[in-house]
């Protein structure tokens, strides 16, 4: 809400400059976000928290300043009408729904001599961004800003049937409002209606047909208390927020209802002639809240950590407008004024005292820490994530963070229909799917980088994917996504090398080895987003952990990716139980290693892994390691056949092995391979 300092000083005159005032208010919880110059003075733009509707008015702010500076408020004068005529008997006011409108009051004014809005009211309104409309409407707006109670005036002659009914709208009813729009109403909306139709959306906006204009001379002046929850609901449903609905939503002061109405009459009488002013007619009763709170001093000290002297506490509470009912060494009992509906319990008072006293006067202490056994348990999931990040970054991958909510239509195919978690109230209609896979985000990341000229990149992401679980809370699975493209950079000392699927495979093998899974299994797999024949499924301890492969040509085309991409996803929740950092040390042998190479020609379809595992299986305790170092297919080798070359290392724990015995063992293994795989051995020779 905008507060003009010139206007404010009509009610309170603190001994402080406007800048100081703004700071002091901010430090008391009434935040002044911006200070602007407007028409001869300064205007504070305040941000009022939802628990302080009483600050949505000049008198409310003045009250706060009065408490902070211990300076009195100057209440606006109220001109009483010389004579009040009775409210007309034949004009009926009826509230059909007391829970939606607990208290409704009104007065009729007849024969108001039309007059221009006085300059000072106009200036005040314009200083805070409100347009001047006509005298009567301007006065109601002025008073609303002054005391926080919204009021509405109806042109009496335009009301039909000498009656006003405060009721729920009927199905099918609509109203043409003063903003020029037509609103369809439901039974959830409260309206003020005459005998024929709704004439106002209660507490929110008046109807065009009965609005007061310049020449209007007879008015019905409404001032009421509407149920905050219902005003809020209607306001949200219709998409209308007004100064009026804003205040009702936060709960107005029941005592202020009549005060405001009388203030409007007073200002009208000040500036023009009125033939008749009636007494008020009302329905319902003022909804009063619990009126007293006891504050034990010991509790305040226990909560704050310091003791605020009783005398000071009392003074602060009094300055805030609270009534002191009882006080002694141990406690203070206060009555809560009707404009402080936010104060209901002792901690609320503790906050009031502390903020006026000054939070800066509370010292900084550190709490004592007792050992918490629950907190000592290890956190395997956090550790796994942290270690995975470190390992992958060390292996040259860059961490990406992508949105959890993605384009539904584009990415629905990444999971079965029944697993999709859809968002129903997105602002951006297209982003309505909780990601069922990390791939969309990573593919978009790659696309963005490729299109911006990055020739190569290696990404990983660790985060949740979301899969529906019937009507239960969806499953959130921790997942690792990887994607890369391009080639290593060409440098003055090295030639570039294309990056691809095997770089992903290698990174994962490295990661798994770190987690204690030494020999994972890789199986051919298919996936809708991978190019046929490039999909690899990772299996460990008999469970599938995920799939990697090359992105399909179709996806590359769809995303406009020039450079091919290798990517994959691993289920970290499934990996977690397999992770072990247990190790058993083996004494390294002090005897020399003897290396021998083994080349063989095998059918193309034979997997190198199976040959390798046969070697490991058949080798005796001398065999320390097997490493595939060459694969050759093509020229110089006939069709359907490929050459594999392995480096084998032999070592004994007990003695130096002789060249002859190693050779014999090596040949024995070669012989087994020859038989088992029908392999040809062009050479099983000694390492140079």
């Amino acid at each position: 809400m905008k507060i003009s300092t010139l206007w404010l000083r009509d009610y309170v005159k603190p001994r402080a400059s406007s800048e100081e005032l703004a700071h002091r208010l901010t430090m008391a919880g009434l935040e002044v976000k911006k200070i602007e110059r407007s028409d001869g003075g300064l205007v504070f733009e305040t941000e009022i928290t939802s628990n302080r509707p009483d600050w949505l008015s000049y008198l409310g702010v003045a009250r706060e300043i009065s408490a902070l500076y211990a300076t009195p408020i100057r209440m606006p004068k109220k001109l009483e009408p010389e004579k009040l005529v009775p409210f007309p008997q034949d004009f009926a006011i009826e509230t059909k729904d007391l829970d939606l409108c607990p208290y409704y009051t009104g007065t009729i004014l007849r024969g108001i001599k039309p007059v221009a809005t006085p300059a000072f009211i106009k200036r005040r309104l314009e200083a805070v961004g409100l347009r001047s409309i006509n005298f009567i409407v301007d006065v109601t707006n002025f008073v609303m800003l002054e005391c926080g109670q919204p009021l509405h005036a109806f042109d009496l002659k335009l009301l039909k049937g000498q009656t006003l009914i405060i009721r729920r709208a009927k199905a099918g009813e609509s109203i043409s409002a003063i903003d020029g729009k037509v609103y369809s109403l439901t039974a959830k909306d409260l309206v003020i209606a005459d005998s024929e139709r709704p004439v106002a959306i209660a507490g929110v906006m008046g109807g065009k047909d009965t609005e007061v204009s310049g020449p209007t001379q007879d008015i019905f002046l409404e001032s009421a208390f509407f149920s905050p929850a219902d005003i809020r609901q209607t306001s949200k449903r219709l998409g209308i927020t007004t100064d009026s609905s804003y205040r009702f939503e936060r709960r107005v002061d029941p005592e202020g209802v009549s005060e405001a109405r009388e203030r409007v009459i007073s200002i009208i009488l000040e500036h023009t002639k009125v033939e008749e002013v009636t007494r008020m007619r009302f329905t319902g009763k003022k909804p009063m809240k619990q009126a007293t709170i006891v504050l034990p001093y010991e509790k305040m000290e226990r909560v704050l950590g310091i003791s605020i002297p009783a005398l000071q506490t009392e003074k602060i509470l009094r300055n805030l407008g609270l009534g002191i009912l009882q006080k002694n060494k141990k406690l203070i009992k206060v009555s809560i004024p009707t404009f402080r509906g936010d104060l209901t319990r002792a901690v609320d008072l503790i906050e009031e005292v502390a903020r006026i006293y000054g939070y800066s006067r509370v010292p900084e202490t550190l709490p004592s820490l007792v050992t918490l056994p629950d907190a000592l348990a290890p956190k395997p999931k956090f550790q796994m994530v942290h270690q995975a990040i470190c390992r992958l970054v060390g292996a040259g991958f860059w961490e990406a963070q992508n949105y959890s909510i993605i384009h539904g239509q584009q990415y629905e195919s990444f999971a079965p229909r029944e697993s999709l978690v859809k968002i129903i109230n997105t602002q951006n209609k297209e982003l309505n799917l909780m990601r069922p896979s990390l791939m969309p985000g990573l593919i978009e990341t790659i696309q963005r980088n490729q299109h911006r000229g990055a020739k190569t990149a290696r990404f990983f992401e660790i985060g949740n994917i979301y899969l529906a679980s019937g009507r239960d809370l969806p499953k959130e699975k921790l997942t690792l996504g990887l994607a890369l493209y391009g080639a290593t950079e060409k440098g003055w000392a090295e030639a570039p090398r294309s990056l691809g699927l095997y770089d992903l495979k290698g990174a994962l093998e490295l990661l798994l080895e770190f987690f204690g899974i030494a020999r994972p299994e890789w199986r051919e797999a298919e996936s809708p987003w991978l190019e046929k024949g490039t999909g690899l499924e990772l299996i460990a301890a008999g469970r599938s952990l995920g799939t990697i492969g090359e992105l399909s040509a179709e996806l590359l085309k769809r995303f406009g990716l020039e450079l091919p991409v290798a990517s994959g996803e691993i289920d970290l929740d499934a990996l977690l139980p397999l992770v072990t950092r247990d190790r058993m040390f083996k004494v390294p042998s002090k005897y020399p290693i003897v290396s021998r190479d083994l080349s063989l020609l095998v059918p193309k379809s034979l997997s190198s892994a199976s040959v390798e595992s046969t070697i490991l299986q058949e080798g005796n305790e001398w065999l320390q390691g097997v490493r595939l170092f060459d694969v050759y297919e093509g020229k110089n080798i006939r069709e359907g056949v490929k050459s594999l070359a392995f480096a084998l290392e032999y070592q004994s724990q007990a003695r130096t092995l002789s060249s002859e015995e190693v050779q014999a063992e090596h040949m024995r293994i070669a012989g087994i391979l020859q038989e088992k795989y029908n392999a040809e051995l062009p050479s099983a020779r000694e390492n140079a």
Partner: protein, 332 residues
């Protein structure tokens, strides 16, 4: 057969006159090689009578050692000076190291401080129920306070948490006090996306509960945190505010004198808000199953993106989710 001492003199004299590597090599062959003079003497050892062998052998060894030593010294002086040159300005061959995302880096830093202050890191689900996100936090459906925590809903009637305090409630339900926890994670708010707002961001919320935690403890803990993160000269101020789940409530600002924020001269606030906090509201304790008469506590929350933007002078939150390598590269 030459005697040893005259051979020694002859050899040393000859050695001192040499001035080329070729001549040195010729000397070596002549005196120290397999068929050289010293070798010949060694062979002659066998022809001597036994009682003379020991003495002769010892002297011969002495000669050999002396000549070997003199030879080595001469070789060093004759070796040409180093002529190989390197261009030391050539860039080092960098191993291809990756990057940790700046949000992860800042999160790690923040959690690190709180862990040192005695807090335990906990985790929880992102998609939640009405109860954990609103009801248990004293945010009634029909109150305007709810607007600040507006949230996304799924088809099944669940919602995306708007703050990680949902995790705190769950922990309180499953554990007895005392408690010191911080809960990091993604949160969601239907904000229009612009340079400083995103519909998704990362939060860390903390909770300290025992039988006597005070407002002054809250101030102390958060002041330590701010100074650890922004430097010992950082100033902190506690400004009254409102949250439905705390009373008293504060917003914590840090002075931007310390922060090397790259801003235009015109827009330079002195205080930047980084934390919301307060003493836990009795209603929250009740909803979680704690007796408000027996426990006291404080809670706080901060946004990781905001901290990262302040620390690094990043003016647009959207950079974090583009994962452009030109952005990520700047945070090794």
């Amino acid at each position: 057969m030459q005697d040893i001492s005259s051979l020694e003199n002859q050899a040393l004299e000859k050695l001192s006159t040499l001035d080329t590597l070729e001549a040195l090599e010729a000397f070596r062959i002549e005196y120290l090689g397999k068929k050289g003079k010293v070798s010949e003497l060694m062979k002659a050892l066998g022809t001597l009578p036994p009682e003379e062998r020991a003495a002769f052998g010892k002297t011969l060894n002495g000669l050999k050692a002396k000549l070997d030593g003199a030879f080595a010294e001469k070789a060093i002086t004759l070796k040409p000076a180093q002529t190989k040159t390197l261009d030391f300005t050539l860039p080092g061959i960098r191993p291809q190291a990756g990057r940790i995302h700046p949000l992860t880096q800042v999160l790690r830093e923040v959690l690190d401080v709180f862990e040192r202050l005695g807090f335990e890191v906990v985790d929880g689900r992102e998609i939640e129920t009405e109860f954990y996100n609103f009801t248990a936090l004293n945010i009634p459906l029909d109150h305007p306070a709810r607007d600040a925590f507006d949230t996304f809903y799924t088809e099944t009637g669940h919602l995306l948490r708007s703050q990680t305090s949902t995790v705190q409630i769950r922990v309180m339900e499953s554990r007895k006090p005392p408690l010191r926890i911080v809960a990091p994670g993604r949160v969601y708010r239907p904000d229009t996306v612009d340079a400083t707002h995103s519909f998704m961001f990362h939060q860390v919320e903390g909770l300290f509960v025992d039988d006597k935690a005070t407002f002054s403890d809250l101030k102390g803990v958060l002041s330590v945190f701010v100074r650890e993160l922004f430097g010992s000269k950082a100033e902190v101020r506690f400004r009254p505010h409102f949250f439905p789940f705390t009373e008293p409530s504060v917003e914590v600002d840090v002075s931007n004198m310390i922060l090397e924020v790259k801003r235009e001269k015109s827009a330079k606030p002195k205080w930047l808000e980084i934390l919301g906090a307060g003493c836990v509201h009795p209603k929250v304790f009740e909803a979680a199953g704690y007796d408000p008469a027996k426990v006291q506590g404080f809670a706080f929350g901060l946004g990781i993106e905001r901290i990262a933007m302040l620390k690094y002078g990043i003016h647009d939150i959207r950079y974090f989710y583009e994962n452009d390598v030109r952005f990520l590269r700047q945070f090794p």
